[in-house]
Symmetry: C2
Subunit: 386 residues, 2 copies
C-alpha cells in the first residue's frame, strides 16, 4: 500500500426530497449564485421549478447558465465565467449529471484565472483558487458530485481532456435517487458501465498489498452486477436507483485509489474517441474497456486478472490466463446484456480516424500504469475494438 | 436504504513518517496545545521524543496530560479540562490508541461546558462546541481516529458510557502503520476483534436494501480474516499492519452505517462488562459477540445471518439457521484462533455480577436494533457467555 492523504470534504445529503435543504447550505458561502444546468430534462421533471422556488424563498440572487451539453464544451465554461464575473456571482449550483458538474468546476476555477480556462485542461495552468460549488445530482455515473475532477471538450481542437484538483470538490451534493427514475434505459446502462469502469481503472494497478482497497472495489462491482439490469428493467425501483447512485459516488471519490495508483488508459482512449465522434462516455467505455483489458493481459498482469475472475465472477482456474480471458469475456457480456454496444462498428465508426484518436490519447505522453501504452498500443486497442 | 447525511471531515496522513507534517496542521488552529498520551509505550518507542521535538521546532507551547489508561477514566478528562483552562490551550494532540483519543474528545467538549463532563455520557448534556483535536494513532482498533465517538469509564459509579458528536471528529489523524509494529500479540488480536465487531454491529441491522454498505462491510471483514493471524505472527510486516490500520478507520468512520442503523448491543454489554471488571475491550467483545449472535438468531434475523455465512465464510445451506449457526461458530473460532478468550470463565469471571452488569447495560432503556434486548435478555446472553 502506498502512502496517501485522505481528504473527502464533500457533504452528501442522500435521500428523498433532500433538495429542500440547499438554501441554507448555499447561504453559508454566498447569496449570489450561478445556477447551471443542461436542458429540458430538469424542466420536464419539475426540478427546475423546485430550485427556482428555493432560490427565491432564500432570497438568493441567481443567473442561469443553461444548455450545458453531454461532453460539455469549453464554450459553456467561458460563458459561465463571463456570467459570474459580470454579475459578481460567488457560488455555483450545478443541477444535472456529470457534464453539468464538470462544466461548473471548470467555471469555478476559471473565474480566478486571467486567461482561457482551457489552459487548465491543456496543462498550461494549474488551479490555485476556485469558487465554492454544490450539486444536485440527476444521473448515477461519473462520481463528479464527490470529487475534484472535470472533463471538458474543445470542439475547435477536437480534444476532450481532464483535470483534477481537491479545490474543486463540491461543498455539498444532494443525492436523491428519485431524480434518476426518468433516466432513459440507454443512459442508465451507460451510467452503470461508467461506474463499473471507474472501479476497474483503480482495481487494475501495479501496487501490491492494497487489499482493503481491492475488497471495497470488488464490493462496488458487485453492486453494479446486482442492480445494473434491474435499473434498466425497473427504472422506478428506489432501492435499485439508490444503490447505484451511492456506488457511483464512492467509486470515484478517492476511497478506491488512496494507497494505490489508478490506470485510466481506457478513459483516456475513450476521451479521444468521444472527442472525435461525440458519443456517450459510458457507451465508449463499454467498447474500449474490455478491449483494453485483453490488450494489457500479459505475464505481469495475469495474476491480478485472475483475482478479479475469482472474487468478482467466481471463476477459478489453475491457469491465470484462462481465468483472465473468461472474466474479460464475462465483463463484455455484462455490458452487452445492458444493451450497450461493444464494438466501434456497432456505433457506425470505422477505421478512418484510428491514428488521429491514438495521437490524441497520448498527447501528454504514454498512458496507463497497470501497463504503459504508447501510440502504437492505442492503435492496436482501437483496431481490436472495431 | 435510509436517508443519510454523509460528512467525514477528518484528513488522514497515511504512511511512514508522516508525523513530521503535524506541526503545520496544528498551527492552523492554535499554537497552544494539550499533548495527551498514555504511558511508557510512546516513550519507549521514541515517538514521545519525536513529538516534543516537533512541537518545539514549530514554536508550539504545550502542556502534557499523561497516564491516560485503557478504559480511560473521567478523572483524566477532568484533569485535561483543568489543564486546558489554566493554560489557555486551544488544540488537543492525542497520541496513542482509542483510549487516549476518546479521552481527548471528552476534554475537547468539556472545556466549553460549565459542569462535570460526565454529564455528556450520562445523557444530561449535549456537546454544543468543542476544541479542535488531531491524533497520531498507535493502535489499530477503535476507529476513534476518524469518528466523533468517545467512550469513558467512571470508577466511582462503575459505569462505562459512550457519546458521539460530529464536532468531535479529529481535524487530522496520522496513520503510520509502523507505530503498531510493537503492539503486543494480545492487544493486536484484541484490536482485530474490535474492528471485526464494529463491522458486524453495522452489518446486522433491520434496514433492507443497503447493499452497497453490506458489500463494503463484507470486504472489510475479509481484511480482518486475511490479516488477523498474520498480524499476530508477523508483527513487523508493514502490509499487514497497514491494511488492518486502514480497515480499522473505515470500519467506524460512518461509511458502513450511512443509510442503515447499527445494532451496538454487543458493545453496550461489553461496556457494562469492562466497567465492572476493567478488562480489555476487544477481549470482552470476543466473549460477548458470538454469544450475542447466537441469542439474536431467530426467524426474522436468520436470513441476514445466512448472507453473512455465504458471503464471508462461503457457507451455503438450504436452511438459514444451519448456515447461521455454522457462521457464528466460525466467527468464535476465528477469535479463539487469534488467542482471544471466548468465555467469561477463561478471564476469571463467574456469575456473581451478571445481574449488575445487565442493569448497567440497559441503563438508558432497551438496547440493540437488529433485535431489541431488555435486562432479562442481557442476563441470558451473559449467562451463555460463562
Amino acid at each position: 500500500m502506498l502512502d496517501f492523504d485522505y481528504s473527502i470534504s464533500t457533504k452528501v445529503f442522500f435521500g428523498k426530497n433532500r433538495v429542500g435543504e440547499i438554501g441554507e447550505e448555499i447561504k453559508k458561502y454566498s447569496d449570489r449564485v450561478l445556477f447551471a444546468y443542461g436542458g429540458a430534462s430538469i424542466k420536464n421533471s419539475g426540478l427546475y421549478a423546485v430550485i427556482i422556488n428555493l432560490l427565491n424563498k432564500n432570497k438568493i440572487t441567481y443567473e442561469e447558465l443553461s444548455g450545458i451539453q453531454p461532453n460539455p464544451r469549453i464554450k459553456s465554461v467561458r460563458e459561465g465565467v463571463n456570467l459570474c464575473r459580470a454579475n459578481k456571482l460567488r457560488f455555483i449550483l450545478a443541477v444535472g449529471g456529470g457534464s453539468v458538474i464538470d462544466c461548473s468546476k471548470a467555471i469555478a476555477a476559471g473565474i480566478y484565472y486571467n486567461a482561457d480556462p482551457w489552459d487548465f485542461f491543456a496543462k498550461k495552468a494549474r488551479v490555485e483558487k476556485a469558487l465554492p460549488l454544490g450539486t444536485v445530482l440527476t444521473l448515477a455515473a461519473t462520481g463528479s458530485e464527490m470529487n475534484g475532477f472535470s472533463v471538458i471538450s474543445n470542439e475547435e481542437t477536437k480534444e476532450k481532456l481532464a483535470m483534477g484538483n481537491d479545490l474543486l470538490r463540491p461543498k455539498f451534493s444532494v443525492l436523491d435517487p428519485a431524480y434518476t427514475f426518468t433516466v432513459s434505459k440507454k443512459h442508465t446502462a451507460a451510467g452503470v458501465v461508467d461506474i463499473y469502469t471507474h472501479i476497474l481503472e483503480q482495481y487494475f494497478c501495479p501496487v501490491q498489498g492494497a487489499y482493503v482497497q481491492d475488497k471495497l472495489a470488488e464490493g462496488l462491482i458487485k453492486v453494479c452486477l446486482k442492480y445494473g439490469h434491474l435499473a434498466v428493467k425497473e427504472p422506478w425501483n428506489y432501492e435499485v436507483r439508490a444503490n447505484l447512485m451511492w456506488a457511483g459516488s464512492l467509486a470515484l471519490n478517492g476511497i478506491l485509489t488512496y494507497g494505490k495508483i489508478g490506470d485510466w488508459a481506457a478513459h483516456v482512449i475513450e476521451h479521444a474517441l468521444s472527442a472525435v465522434y461525440d458519443i456517450t462516455h459510458g457507451v465508449g467505455l463499454a467498447i474500449i474497456g474490455p478491449n483494453w483489458m485483453e490488450y494489457v493481459l500479459d505475464e505481469k498482469t495475469a495474476g491480478k486478472f485472475a483475482e478479479y475472475a475469482k472474487n468478482v465472477w467466481g471463476i477459478e482456474s489453475k491457469d491465470d490466463f484462462d481465468a483472465a480471458k473468461k472474466a474479460i469475456a464475462k465483463t463484455r457480456e455484462f455490458f452487452r446484456s445492458l444493451g450497450m454496444p461493444v464494438s466501434l462498428r456497432e456505433v457506425g465508426i470505422g477505421d478512418e480516424k484510428i491514428e488521429e484518436m491514438a495521437k490524441k490519447a497520448v498527447v501528454f505522453g504514454d498512458i496507463g500504469n497497470f501497463r504503459k501504452l504508447n501510440t502504437s498500443d492505442v492503435v492496436k486497442i482501437l483496431r481490436s475494438a472495431l
